[in-house]
Symmetry: C2
Subunit: 131 residues, 2 copies
Protein backbone atom coordinates (compact mmCIF):
# COMPACT_ATOMS: atom_id res chain seq x y z
CA UNK A 1 0.00 0.00 0.00
CA UNK A 2 2.71 2.44 0.87
CA UNK A 3 5.40 1.86 -1.70
CA UNK A 4 8.97 2.81 -1.08
CA UNK A 5 8.76 5.77 -3.37
CA UNK A 6 5.77 8.06 -3.64
CA UNK A 7 4.88 10.72 -6.14
CA UNK A 8 4.04 14.22 -5.13
CA UNK A 9 0.33 13.52 -5.59
CA UNK A 10 0.44 10.52 -3.36
CA UNK A 11 2.24 12.52 -0.74
CA UNK A 12 -0.30 15.30 -0.92
CA UNK A 13 -3.10 12.82 -0.45
CA UNK A 14 -1.33 11.00 2.36
CA UNK A 15 -0.39 14.09 4.34
CA UNK A 16 -3.04 16.53 3.22
CA UNK A 17 -0.68 19.18 1.97
CA UNK A 18 -0.37 20.93 -1.37
CA UNK A 19 2.34 20.24 -3.94
CA UNK A 20 3.56 23.73 -3.37
CA UNK A 21 4.14 22.92 0.25
CA UNK A 22 6.27 19.90 -0.54
CA UNK A 23 8.31 21.84 -3.07
CA UNK A 24 8.68 24.61 -0.58
CA UNK A 25 9.90 22.23 2.08
CA UNK A 26 12.36 20.81 -0.37
CA UNK A 27 13.65 24.28 -1.18
CA UNK A 28 14.08 24.84 2.53
CA UNK A 29 16.02 21.60 2.76
CA UNK A 30 13.55 19.95 5.06
CA UNK A 31 13.03 16.99 2.76
CA UNK A 32 15.10 15.54 -0.06
CA UNK A 33 13.01 13.72 -2.63
CA UNK A 34 15.05 11.89 -5.25
CA UNK A 35 14.62 12.71 -8.88
CA UNK A 36 13.35 10.57 -11.66
CA UNK A 37 14.36 12.86 -14.44
CA UNK A 38 12.79 16.08 -13.32
CA UNK A 39 10.12 14.61 -11.09
CA UNK A 40 10.26 14.10 -7.41
CA UNK A 41 9.98 10.79 -5.70
CA UNK A 42 9.60 10.83 -1.94
CA UNK A 43 11.32 8.20 0.11
CA UNK A 44 10.41 6.64 3.40
CA UNK A 45 12.86 9.02 4.99
CA UNK A 46 11.07 12.00 3.50
CA UNK A 47 7.84 10.72 4.93
CA UNK A 48 9.34 10.25 8.34
CA UNK A 49 10.69 13.77 8.24
CA UNK A 50 7.44 15.19 7.00
CA UNK A 51 5.60 13.48 9.82
CA UNK A 52 7.92 15.12 12.30
CA UNK A 53 7.66 18.46 10.53
CA UNK A 54 3.88 18.49 10.64
CA UNK A 55 3.89 17.38 14.23
CA UNK A 56 6.41 20.05 15.11
CA UNK A 57 4.37 22.72 13.41
CA UNK A 58 1.44 21.88 15.66
CA UNK A 59 3.71 22.66 18.56
CA UNK A 60 4.56 25.99 17.09
CA UNK A 61 8.06 25.27 15.92
CA UNK A 62 9.09 27.25 12.89
CA UNK A 63 10.29 25.44 9.81
CA UNK A 64 13.74 26.74 10.53
CA UNK A 65 13.62 25.25 14.03
CA UNK A 66 12.56 21.94 12.56
CA UNK A 67 15.25 22.00 9.93
CA UNK A 68 17.88 22.40 12.60
CA UNK A 69 16.42 19.64 14.70
CA UNK A 70 16.24 17.25 11.77
CA UNK A 71 19.77 18.12 10.75
CA UNK A 72 20.88 17.28 14.23
CA UNK A 73 19.74 13.73 13.69
CA UNK A 74 21.08 13.56 10.18
CA UNK A 75 24.53 14.24 11.36
CA UNK A 76 24.85 11.87 14.25
CA UNK A 77 21.80 9.68 14.36
CA UNK A 78 19.38 9.46 17.24
CA UNK A 79 21.99 9.17 19.90
CA UNK A 80 21.65 10.43 23.39
CA UNK A 81 23.17 13.91 23.06
CA UNK A 82 20.87 14.79 20.18
CA UNK A 83 17.86 13.41 21.92
CA UNK A 84 18.76 15.27 25.04
CA UNK A 85 19.13 18.49 23.12
CA UNK A 86 15.78 17.98 21.48
CA UNK A 87 14.27 17.34 24.84
CA UNK A 88 15.59 20.63 26.11
CA UNK A 89 14.37 22.58 23.13
CA UNK A 90 10.94 21.01 23.37
CA UNK A 91 10.82 21.81 27.07
CA UNK A 92 11.56 25.44 26.36
CA UNK A 93 8.89 25.49 23.73
CA UNK A 94 6.45 24.02 26.18
CA UNK A 95 7.26 26.77 28.62
CA UNK A 96 6.63 29.35 25.90
CA UNK A 97 3.32 27.78 25.08
CA UNK A 98 2.29 27.87 28.70
CA UNK A 99 3.21 31.51 28.97
CA UNK A 100 1.24 32.17 25.84
CA UNK A 101 -1.72 30.37 27.30
CA UNK A 102 -1.47 32.43 30.45
CA UNK A 103 -1.54 35.65 28.43
CA UNK A 104 -4.42 34.39 26.43
CA UNK A 105 -6.26 33.60 29.62
CA UNK A 106 -5.79 37.11 30.88
CA UNK A 107 -6.93 38.58 27.60
CA UNK A 108 -9.97 36.35 27.62
CA UNK A 109 -11.07 37.30 31.09
CA UNK A 110 -10.42 40.98 30.38
CA UNK A 111 -12.50 40.79 27.27
CA UNK A 112 -15.23 39.05 29.21
CA UNK A 113 -15.20 41.94 31.64
CA UNK A 114 -15.53 44.42 28.85
CA UNK A 115 -18.40 42.46 27.45
CA UNK A 116 -20.14 42.40 30.79
CA UNK A 117 -19.83 46.13 30.98
CA UNK A 118 -21.14 46.51 27.47
CA UNK A 119 -24.07 44.32 28.34
CA UNK A 120 -24.92 46.61 31.21
CA UNK A 121 -24.84 49.68 29.06
CA UNK A 122 -27.00 47.98 26.49
CA UNK A 123 -29.47 47.04 29.17
CA UNK A 124 -29.62 50.63 30.32
CA UNK A 125 -30.89 51.58 26.88
CA UNK A 126 -34.06 49.71 27.58
CA UNK A 127 -34.65 51.24 30.96
CA UNK A 128 -33.55 54.79 30.30
CA UNK A 129 -32.25 56.38 33.46
CA UNK A 130 -34.11 53.94 35.63
CA UNK A 131 -33.60 53.46 39.39
Amino acid sequence: MTPDLMTIREMCAAFDVTPRTLRFYESKELIFPVRQGTRRLFTRRDRARLTLILRGKRFGFSLEDLRQLLDLYDRDGSQEPQLRRTYEIASERLAQMERQRAELDVAISDLKEQLAWGAEVLASFRQPAAE
Copy 2:
Protein backbone atom coordinates in the same frame (compact mmCIF):
# COMPACT_ATOMS: atom_id res chain seq x y z
CA MET B 1 -0.38 67.21 33.98
CA THR B 2 -2.04 65.97 30.85
CA PRO B 3 -2.38 69.00 28.64
CA ASP B 4 -4.92 69.19 25.89
CA LEU B 5 -2.31 68.76 23.23
CA MET B 6 0.65 66.45 23.52
CA THR B 7 3.78 66.11 21.46
CA ILE B 8 4.83 62.86 19.92
CA ARG B 9 7.41 62.37 22.65
CA GLU B 10 4.90 62.83 25.39
CA MET B 11 2.61 60.37 23.71
CA CYS B 12 5.37 57.82 23.40
CA ALA B 13 6.17 58.14 27.05
CA ALA B 14 2.53 58.06 28.10
CA PHE B 15 1.58 55.02 26.05
CA ASP B 16 4.91 53.28 25.73
CA VAL B 17 4.97 53.22 21.97
CA THR B 18 7.52 54.45 19.45
CA PRO B 19 7.12 57.54 17.30
CA ARG B 20 7.05 55.26 14.32
CA THR B 21 4.01 53.55 15.72
CA LEU B 22 2.10 56.81 16.11
CA ARG B 23 3.01 57.96 12.64
CA PHE B 24 2.02 54.57 11.32
CA TYR B 25 -1.34 54.73 13.06
CA GLU B 26 -1.90 58.15 11.61
CA SER B 27 -1.11 56.88 8.14
CA LYS B 28 -3.65 54.14 8.71
CA GLU B 29 -6.19 56.75 9.78
CA LEU B 30 -6.51 55.43 13.27
CA ILE B 31 -5.63 58.75 14.85
CA PHE B 32 -5.67 62.31 13.55
CA PRO B 33 -3.14 64.52 15.29
CA VAL B 34 -3.42 68.18 14.37
CA ARG B 35 -0.48 70.01 12.89
CA GLN B 36 1.50 72.85 14.30
CA GLY B 37 3.37 73.71 11.18
CA THR B 38 4.75 70.33 10.29
CA ARG B 39 4.66 68.79 13.74
CA ARG B 40 2.00 66.60 15.18
CA LEU B 41 0.01 67.48 18.23
CA PHE B 42 -2.17 64.78 19.71
CA THR B 43 -5.56 65.68 21.07
CA ARG B 44 -7.60 64.15 23.83
CA ARG B 45 -9.55 62.35 21.16
CA ASP B 46 -6.37 60.82 19.79
CA ARG B 47 -5.52 59.60 23.23
CA ALA B 48 -8.92 58.09 23.73
CA ARG B 49 -8.63 56.32 20.41
CA LEU B 50 -5.12 55.15 21.13
CA THR B 51 -6.27 53.72 24.44
CA LEU B 52 -8.93 51.74 22.65
CA ILE B 53 -6.51 50.69 19.94
CA LEU B 54 -3.98 49.32 22.39
CA ARG B 55 -6.69 47.59 24.36
CA GLY B 56 -8.13 46.12 21.19
CA LYS B 57 -4.76 44.84 20.10
CA ARG B 58 -4.47 42.90 23.33
CA PHE B 59 -7.69 41.19 22.36
CA GLY B 60 -6.21 40.26 19.03
CA PHE B 61 -8.08 42.71 16.85
CA SER B 62 -6.14 43.82 13.82
CA LEU B 63 -5.56 47.50 13.22
CA GLU B 64 -7.98 47.33 10.35
CA ASP B 65 -10.63 45.86 12.63
CA LEU B 66 -10.05 48.67 15.08
CA ARG B 67 -10.19 51.33 12.43
CA GLN B 68 -13.59 50.10 11.37
CA LEU B 69 -14.86 49.98 14.91
CA LEU B 70 -13.61 53.46 15.66
CA ASP B 71 -15.11 54.77 12.45
CA LEU B 72 -18.40 53.30 13.48
CA TYR B 73 -18.44 55.61 16.46
CA ASP B 74 -17.14 58.56 14.53
CA ARG B 75 -20.08 58.46 12.22
CA ASP B 76 -22.95 58.21 14.63
CA GLY B 77 -21.65 58.52 18.13
CA SER B 78 -21.94 55.83 20.76
CA GLN B 79 -25.55 55.09 20.17
CA GLU B 80 -27.20 51.78 20.76
CA PRO B 81 -26.87 50.19 17.30
CA GLN B 82 -23.14 50.83 17.21
CA LEU B 83 -22.64 49.56 20.70
CA ARG B 84 -24.67 46.50 19.94
CA ARG B 85 -22.63 45.83 16.83
CA THR B 86 -19.43 46.21 18.79
CA TYR B 87 -20.77 43.84 21.37
CA GLU B 88 -21.40 41.23 18.71
CA ILE B 89 -17.98 41.60 17.17
CA ALA B 90 -16.32 41.35 20.54
CA SER B 91 -18.37 38.27 21.36
CA GLU B 92 -17.22 36.58 18.17
CA ARG B 93 -13.68 37.49 18.96
CA LEU B 94 -14.06 36.00 22.40
CA ALA B 95 -15.32 32.78 20.87
CA GLN B 96 -12.28 32.72 18.59
CA MET B 97 -9.99 33.24 21.52
CA GLU B 98 -11.58 30.41 23.39
CA ARG B 99 -11.21 28.11 20.42
CA GLN B 100 -7.60 29.15 20.17
CA ARG B 101 -7.15 28.42 23.80
CA ALA B 102 -8.63 24.97 23.37
CA GLU B 103 -6.24 24.20 20.52
CA LEU B 104 -3.36 25.46 22.54
CA ASP B 105 -4.39 23.21 25.38
CA VAL B 106 -4.39 20.19 23.11
CA ALA B 107 -1.02 21.10 21.67
CA ILE B 108 0.37 21.58 25.15
CA SER B 109 -0.80 18.25 26.45
CA ASP B 110 0.37 16.50 23.29
CA LEU B 111 3.76 18.06 23.65
CA LYS B 112 3.85 16.99 27.26
CA GLU B 113 3.16 13.46 26.15
CA GLN B 114 6.00 13.60 23.69
CA LEU B 115 8.26 14.91 26.38
CA ALA B 116 7.28 12.11 28.70
CA TRP B 117 8.14 9.63 26.01
CA GLY B 118 11.44 11.35 25.38
CA ALA B 119 12.21 11.23 29.06
CA GLU B 120 11.66 7.48 29.05
CA VAL B 121 13.98 6.96 26.15
CA LEU B 122 16.58 9.12 27.81
CA ALA B 123 16.25 7.06 30.97
CA SER B 124 16.75 3.89 28.98
CA PHE B 125 20.14 5.21 27.94
CA ARG B 126 21.29 4.88 31.49
CA GLN B 127 20.01 1.37 32.05
CA PRO B 128 20.72 -0.15 28.68
CA ALA B 129 18.27 -2.94 27.94
CA ALA B 130 17.50 -3.34 31.60
CA GLU B 131 14.52 -5.25 33.03
